[in-house]
Symmetry: C2
Subunit: 573 residues, 2 copies
């Protein structure tokens, strides 16, 4: 029982020297990738760079204790950082101790919410974010983040959390562009794009193994950091207006206590909930995808607990909201990590970097970090998915488009809420006007299909209607109208059979409609029959008066119904 | 085409002297019943009594032009009057010209909304009010209305629009009870209950026909009005504190123009919408029930237009929101009305009463009207329905209970909103964890049913799963987990068949889940097959890559799937 909440007790039992070696190698590669990423995402969240490092230590250690994915890597990620900046930026000024305090509190709230949801086994709530909404949200966030980084690359100042605000401010400032900053920023962007598409093939051509070449190609951002930092230091470019990271305090984070300010807690509750849900969805998607590759399983409810613990840990160690990240987890997976212990080793490596490497970051230009973020998030913009969804389903597409447009125009929180709301409304609308088919027998089988799509045999005097939806209040009246209209078309009808193979539920409103249909048909000398009623639906009907009032019968299957109603059976009126 | 919007052009073509005679008799009976009702509901809405009469003239004439029900009678009704009082009472003081102006405006707004919804053919929106929610709402409203009338029967003053407020105020005042008022009020209640249950059988026993006795029994309220008015007049009880109706101006209403005050329009918009929807639902329910008895049909969208016109007419002639009433329509129907012309004759009769009978109403005690309302609304409280719904479905019951409690405690608008919201949430929750069954063949048939409920034959190596819900984002992950878990139970499996007879829709999220399931099964050497995929679902799948990636096949029906997969067919990996 206890091992359900501490998966480490299970996997550590089979931990060997080989597993350790694999985990340690993966940890080194992930650390090299994480250092610039952590700094960059702290910058994106409007926080000092060392906070990014802090948020990559305690959360990783805690995930090792509680996580069920063997390869997931948690830490600061782009979308959660943007959401953090948007949530806090509206309340307090960036750069103040209050801003920092609010970020810590946001991580705590998010952690507590995730933990509570995990203990209450509410993991299913994440399912209400549909793929098109998530995809649209990530695309729009990617665009906003990329645009928000443009100011660092241009060397101008601008703020704002949606496309309109950002474009206006950057447009007004573009003439104040700082040339050396722009050279560093744009140069890094071009370099990173080149690395991404060309370095791996090049290394392979030079004889490196596919895997090693892939790992080396991931070090592009570190290379960019080293080169641009050196250039700024050698040529003293900070004197020419190139913004640098500046003094980064060394040493491990000191434990902090979040402020207890009821007003602030209330204001941050909704953003914390949204960050939790979005972060959880990203985490579970990544973890499930990677687990499937190795035929492993994750426990979605335990992942809520693990992510909650990671966020509480981040808060207490002075960090900000963290999530299971896509790119770092893939790198961890590809580098051969076998267990969550790799995460603990990564945490130790980053702690060492925090202790000894921070002086080297002094001359690191912010434009380099901005370029790293920009290239990372633009890869999230998935135009192919938009086109695919357009082809497959117009209603999924409209939910996606609404999410993109509202996120771009009104911010991340409104964007997600709109997407989820619209998806549900469209679904309810669909079920309120269900598809139905008049069915007939496919010759040579006992199978009944739509008369409009298949060559079927109809039985004179019997109307068989298959209604393709659960019967519940939004479509109850539709059902009455449908049967009325179809019955009116054939004056020789004797029996109506409602084929219920697609009816998964009949609520009280629909039951009243069925009683009404039964009465009307009976008044007109027809019987109402049901076929293929599912077990759970039948259980419920047996608790009502409907079965005793029904003018016809309930048949186990449609073929039986037609066989029995076909001969000149005396109508029951 | 024009006759679609003016049904009178159709039914008037066959209008004969006989039809006229029937309509005229019904009009006389309905008028006798309507006069005290109209006065009482105006009182309930917090308006002068003559307004109730005004609201029973123009609306009836306009419904005759536009209505599609042959027997519906529109006018002031209890629930809409209560909602009117609740909506306006929060904004302006009762008894002021502003209060009257707001009631007129409310009718206009409601009329415009109904008309717009009718032209846009939005009648289906009313379907989102489920039967349990309507029933719960009417029960709770009935209790609130009855309690609100208690002050008139006790002769004390109290205000408030929910159970808590009303109970507290009446409780504080009960010692100030006015004895003659209480005698009249309580006496009328007892008398009306006696009439309702005993008068008709008594008259039948005295040899009257069933129908005549029924009609005479409906005149109870008129009798009570005549007797109590005479008593007050003869004994000058008004001097002893019995509240009377007082001066009622004679003459027809003069056309009024609603005030154009943007702030007030905005404040009344939501109440107007709710009154419109509740009124429309009541109207359509009554009209459809009565039409079904004569095998007639109504057009729900045209009913929106007719009800909209009636409300606009009510507003312009100085009335308040009107609705198709249940009891008056039943009386009209039972009295033999053949066409909506009966409504026009009723309107003329009420106009004559407004011209000549109002002086007789001077000494009418308000307690009598309150007693009439109380007895009418308490008959709406349907405890049997509550018990029935409890037995049939706990989720329908909880929506009903929430509607009742929130209506009683928080008012009518919040009550309805809660009921509708909760119904939808419960439905979505249900679909997010759908029922599924492992199915096998029922011997001697080609029919497949749940292995847990039927004696079925399973095919070794083939797992057939019937999932009982459309596949969409809230249950997409559930589907993946279900298939994973079921496949893990049998290591000898070769084929999985997803029987899709209950799958009415597959959205983009579920499609991704299917692709994931297909990949995982393929990795494990199994094929994924679908059977009984419906036409519309298949059309959509053909637009995706899924069919080309599918490791198995799509079978027309489950029997074919099992027949074809049964022999040692080479797996497709």
């Amino acid at each position: 029982m206890i091992s359900r909440y501490f998966p480490i007790l299970t996997w550590s039992r089979t931990y060997t020297r080989d597993t350790f070696a694999n985990d340690a190698v993966a940890a080194v590669i992930v650390t090299i990738m994480l250092i610039p990423q952590s700094l960059a995402y702290a910058l994106l969240a409007g926080l000092p760079p060392e906070i990014g490092l802090y948020a990559s230590i305690a959360p990783l250690l805690l995930y090792t204790l509680f996580g069920t994915s063997m390869t997931l890597a948690v830490g600061p990620v782009a979308v959660a950082s943007l959401m953090t900046a948007a949530a806090i930026g509206n309340l307090v000024a960036q750069g103040t101790p209050e801003y920092f305090g609010a970020a810590i509190l946001l991580a705590l709230l998010s952690g507590l919410m995730l933990l509570t949801m995990g203990l209450a086994r509410l993991g299913f709530l994440a399912n209400f974010l549909s793929h098109p909404v998530i995809s649209g949200f990530i695309t729009a966030s990617g665009l906003i983040i990329a645009l928000s980084q443009l100011k660092h690359i241009l060397g101008v100042s601008a703020s704002g959390h949606n496309l309109v605000e950002l474009s206006r401010e950057i447009g007004a400032q573009v003439t104040n562009l700082n040339a050396p900053t722009f050279a560093i920023g744009a140069g890094t962007v071009v370099f990173l794009y080149w690395v991404r598409s060309n370095l791996k093939p090049l290394l392979v051509r030079f004889g490196l193994s596919e895997k090693l070449a892939g790992s080396l190609a991931k070090t592009g951002p570190v290379l960019a950091v080293v080169v641009t930092t050196s250039v700024v230091w050698v040529f003293s470019l900070e004197a020419q207006g190139v913004a640098i990271v500046g003094h980064v305090p060394s040493g491990l984070p000191t434990p902090t206590l979040p402020v207890f300010d009821a007003g602030l807690w209330k204001q941050l509750a909704l953003p914390a909930l949204l960050i939790s849900i979005v972060g959880y969805v990203e985490t579970v998607s990544v973890a499930q995808t990677l687990a499937a590759k190795r035929r492993q399983r994750i426990d979605p409810d335990q992942e809520l607990i693990a992510l909650g613990a990671a966020n509480i840990g981040s808060s207490i160690s002075g960090g900000f909201p963290v999530t299971g990240g896509f790119s770092r987890s893939v790198v961890n997976h590809d580098a051969g990590a076998q267990t969550p212990a790799a995460g603990a080793y990564t945490a130790i490596a980053i702690a060492l970097a925090t202790l000894f490497l921070t002086p080297l970051l002094h001359y690191l230009p912010k434009a380099t970090l901005a370029a790293t973020i920009m290239v990372a998030v633009l890869s999230l913009v998935d135009l192919g998915a938009i086109r695919q969804i357009w082809t497959y389903s117009k209603s999924d597409f409209s939910a996606m488009l609404a999410t993109i447009l509202v996120t771009l125009g009104g911010g991340v929180e409104l964007g997600i809420a709109t997407g989820v709301g619209l998806s549900l409304v469209l679904y309810l609308h669909r079920t309120s006007r269900p598809h139905y088919a008049i069915v007939g027998q496919i010759p040579g089988t006992e199978h009944f299909r739509n008369v409009l799509r298949h060559d079927v045999v109809l039985t004179p005097g019997v109307l068989s209607v298959r209604i393709d939806e659960s019967l519940y209040f939004p479509n109850a009246r539709f059902l009455e109208d449908t049967i009325n209209d179809e019955v009116a078309k054939d004056p020789l009808l004797k029996h109506v059979v409602l084929m219920c193979s697609a009816v998964n539920y009949i609520d009280a409103s629909a039951l009243e409609s069925l009683e009404m249909i039964n009465l009307r048909l009976q008044d007109n000398g027809l019987t109402l029959n049901l076929s293929e009623v599912k077990g759970p639906v039948m259980d419920r009907l047996q608790k009502s008066h409907f079965l005793s009032e029904l003018s016809g019968e309930i048949f186990l299957h449609q073929y039986e119904a037609v066989c029995r109603l076909k001969p000149a059976k005396a109508p029951s009126y």
